[in-house]
């Protein structure tokens, strides 16, 4: 397995799973358990003193015994994101934060300017920032300068399920940051997308909708875990060289003459 760690954490399972949009908490829990993921993303939302939905959810997550990666989903400004991160650190008791600073609502594309600024503020404040970013190499460099030790370029718009829209960009990013843990975050729809990302040399994939909105989320979670492991193993095993034309697999020598 890739020696790369994520802020010192060696994730055995390179599939990171979101916790939203599941048909039920039970199905979420089952998906997490059966896919054996090590880390899930969570968020912070307004709690009602009466219903206390969040308390129940948090109880459920804690019982799963996985690491949590709180996000700043929906934040459009540096201040919102930074404040949310602080609140998350207190509630979830982790300095890990999936930093989202959204710049556009149709694509949920990150605002790379706000992202870099927020990343600097948060790393200075002791956070371990997992930035949701683009394939932009310069942005990536600035995030590293800001202290990030992981980069999470998008594969496609959040929740779109389109897969890897810019394979060239992802490949260039991998080549440009050979030693940085890279996670494809968002946009994956099928296990083959996860395999492909890992075959490109990525260190992990993070997804939510493709599992939660599948007909059978538990089966799909397992499928993504298998495909992620498969892609990672393939990258490490060293794939064959692609050929333009055919080459017989069965030996030609020794073929009988039967005309």
């Amino acid at each position: 397995m890739s020696a790369r760690t994520f802020y010192g954490q060696a994730l055995a399972n390179r599939l990171l799973l979101g916790t939203a949009q599941y048909p039920s908490p039970a199905i979420l829990a089952d998906a997490v358990k059966q896919s054996a993921v090590d880390m899930v993303t969570v968020s912070l939302r307004r709690e009602s003193g009466a219903q206390r939905a969040g308390q129940a959810f948090w109880q459920l997550i804690k019982e799963l015994g996985v690491s949590v990666l709180p996000n700043t989903a929906g934040c459009h400004t540096v201040k919102e994101a930074v404040t949310t991160a602080h609140m998350a650190r207190e509630v979830f008791g982790t300095k890990s934060i999936k930093l989202e600073v959204i710049g556009e609502d149709d694509t949920l594309q990150p605002d790379v300017f706000g992202l870099v600024e927020a990343a600097r503020i948060l790393t200075d404040d002791g956070f371990e920032v997992w930035p949701y970013t683009t394939q932009d190499l310069i942005v990536g460099g600035k995030l590293l300068d800001a202290g990030c030790e992981v980069l999470m370029p998008w594969g496609a718009p959040i929740g779109s399920g389109q897969g890897l829209n810019d394979v060239f960009g992802l490949r260039a990013m991998r080549a440009h940051f050979p030693d940085v843990p890279l996670v494809v975050d968002a946009g994956l729809g099928l296990p083959s997308h996860a395999s492909q990302a890992m075959e490109l040399g990525y260190d992990a994939v993070l997804l939510n909708t493709a599992v939660a909105k599948a007909g059978d989320p538990v089966a799909m979670a397992i499928a993504f875990a298998d495909a992620t492991r498969a892609g990672q193993a393939a990258h490490q095993a060293g794939p064959m060289e692609v050929r333009d034309m055919a080459e017989p697999s069965t030996p030609v020598m020794g073929k009988a003459f039967l005309l």
Binding site: Q21, V42, S43, E47, A53, Q55, I61, N71, T83, F92
Partner: protein, 65 residues
């Protein structure tokens, strides 16, 4: 006194954020708090005074992607 709790008007009697949370039934709940857009850490709730019209955000863990 009127405050805005998670976007909704509420009438409470409270001098501090800690008291406000009591009054608003959060007692022992695991939540993070902000007043007027500024994060208020747990151990500062007691000394954080609340005044008429303050916007209080009380957040808890929730599903996320």
């Amino acid at each position: 006194m009127r405050v805005v709790l998670n976007g909704e008007d509420r009438e409470i009697e409270a001098a501090t954020l800690a008291e406000a949370l009591e009054a608003l039934d959060y007692a022992d709940a695991i939540v993070a708090t902000a007043v007027n857009g500024e994060f208020v850490p747990h151990d500062q709730r007691g000394e954080t005074t609340i005044k008429e019209g303050d916007a209080i955000e009380v957040l808890a863990p929730m599903q996320g992607g």
